[in-house]
């Protein structure tokens, strides 16, 4: 897996150092960054969730120490670790409650157990909240005073940074941005969470596949029919490929996604009114590097401008994330840095 940011050397780096851990259902990414958010090292281990939370957390702790060594640092050079995790959680308590993809990890005090295993104090965050902090600190949002991050993948995740901090919410359910309601009707699309009308039910990869399946079942002409007949599975990537080859149905499905996102973004602009909204995650249709990605972004902006109040419509930055898969561990390290500086009485 590539990473968009080049490593800097120990000599160029500025102390103190922070370790970020990005826990996913399949992989755990662990990286070391310096005081300016620049990565020095990075590694990935398997989550292997069925072996249990304690087993994975012990391996995470070892990976933290390994990443510190790979960065050319002594153990004491790293002062704080940060952990971004999926699933329902109690952030102040440092607890995982019911991680959807890791059913045996219920009610696990992951923050303190990771601290035990890695030997560092640990700051704890929602995975998308950590990614949002990463983009805010050193990514697409680095010049923004506040931002909303939407991550498009199997679901739609989110993070909200206002006043330099993540909005975690009073019950650790802040920034569940995919579960904003964009259609109140009883026949609205069903979300993976079991409720209807959520942004995620329209704009996630799952939703894109569902909408494409429906269009194909309605027998619309599309080169997708041939690829599926050849045994390929519908996916955002397949749609992107066919859209770029001129398939109208594929392109429609992709751009319809932009429309739904625009609707959700306007709700954020009229309530949070952030300096910018950043679109990240696995499903950005190639991002700035691809004509389809550019059109996707342009359509999001168009929908936003046609629906938002004039001032935020003109001033709110709408752009792709820039840290890719590194946002999670860099942001977790950034949250660790905030906790460290608060503990030291340093300005935040």
């Amino acid at each position: 897996m590539s990473h968009p940011l080049p490593f800097i050397s120990r000599q160029q780096a500025q102390a103190p150092f922070f370790v970020g851990v990005d826990l996913g259902g399949t992989n755990i990414k662990v990286g070391v960054v310096d005081d300016l958010g620049r990565p020095l090292s990075w590694l990935s281990i398997k989550t292997d969730a069925p072996r249990g939370a304690e087993d994975a957390t012990a391996r995470m702790g070892q990976a933290v120490q390994q990443a510190i060594r790979q960065a050319g640092l002594q153990p004491q050079d790293a002062v704080y670790a940060g952990l971004g995790s999926p699933g329902t959680m109690d952030i102040p308590a440092g607890m995982l409650l019911e991680p959807v993809n890791m059913p045996t990890w219920k009610n696990y005090p992951i923050r303190d157990r990771l601290s035990f295993h890695c030997g560092l104090p640990v700051a704890f965050a929602n995975d998308a909240g950590a990614a949002a902090y990463g983009e805010f600190w050193v990514g697409s949002g680095r010049e923004l005073a506040s931002l909303v991050l939407l991550t498009l993948g199997t679901g739609v995740g989110g993070g909200i940074i206002v006043g330099g901090f993540s909005i975690d919410g009073e019950h650790s359910h802040g920034a569940e941005c995919g579960h904003l309601i964009i259609d109140y009707h009883d026949d609205a699309r069903m979300c993976g969470c079991g409720q209807r009308g959520h942004l995620e039910a329209y704009a996630s990869a799952t939703a894109v596949i569902q909408r494409a399946s429906e269009a194909l079942a309605a027998d619309r002409t599309s080169s997708l029919h041939q690829r599926i007949a050849a045994g390929e599975a519908l996916s955002p990537l397949l749609l992107a490929q066919e859209a770029e080859r001129g398939d109208a149905l594929s392109r429609d499905i992709v751009l319809e996604t932009a429309r739904y996102l625009g609707v959700g973004i306007v709700s954020f602009m009229h309530t949070i009114d952030p300096a910018g909204v950043i679109i990240g995650g696995a499903m950005t249709f190639g991002g700035h590097e691809s004509p389809l990605g550019c059109e996707f972004l342009a359509r999001i902006r168009q929908e936003v401008r046609s629906r938002a109040f004039p001032v935020p419509a003109a001033k709110t930055k709408i752009d792709f994330a820039s840290l890719g898969g590194d946002a999670g561990y860099i942001g977790a390290a950034g949250i660790a840095r905030v906790a460290y500086r608060r503990g030291q009485g340093l300005p935040l």
Copy 2:
């Protein structure tokens, strides 16, 4: 006009003192509160908007001094004033931009002009943001760490308090809670702002009247027909009266409003995740004092619980506001207190 909070005497009050100004399209309410948010005096003057912004602001300044005298205070006892204003604004600059109901007041530096006329430093806020701060400080939200206030009137206003502060937004468009999108479809209801599908287009007094008109035009049986034939105008109050007398159509329209509000509230719970959501404004159908108001609130809670994630559904307080028409000036005074304490280096 009654006020729900009794005045306290100068002897009982705790210094320092703050003056709150609640600017409305028709009236301007000015009140003095002590350091604990308890009112000592209160008066109202006409806005008389056509006479212009400077004229009204000069009279506001006089009213501030009059309210201080009525409170039994010396001018120097009041240390800071706060102003809550409607309309589009630039909060950091202290400017009114385009107040909808006061068209000649464009691009007016109201904060600094009020400061000139009243002789006090002035903190500036959105009217609904000030009301939200009032409910947070001494109202329904006084035991909540964070809240969203929805004010139901001609439109739907809002305020969001997180971390002890109002979310004003990067472009002073934060907490335009009535302009959350709850229906993305092209045929969604039209909002007063000219866009479709906003919460305000379903749950404001204007929307209630519109929905009732449509139901009556569809010839549904209702005692409203007689009242309208007798020359009365459709209003939330008329609906409430007929609903309480057993009119099914009136009751349906009122409770349908609760459903839309529930949808909007869930979006706030899944993004802001506040400790509580407070419903205020002129249209609460009698609030806790009336059977219809209680049923209205119960239906909001029911809709919320059926749609929200289990943890916030169980834990988020949903209740009516408790300060009534005093929330605006008390909250403006509270925002003045925050500005004062920040300036003095006191804990916030």
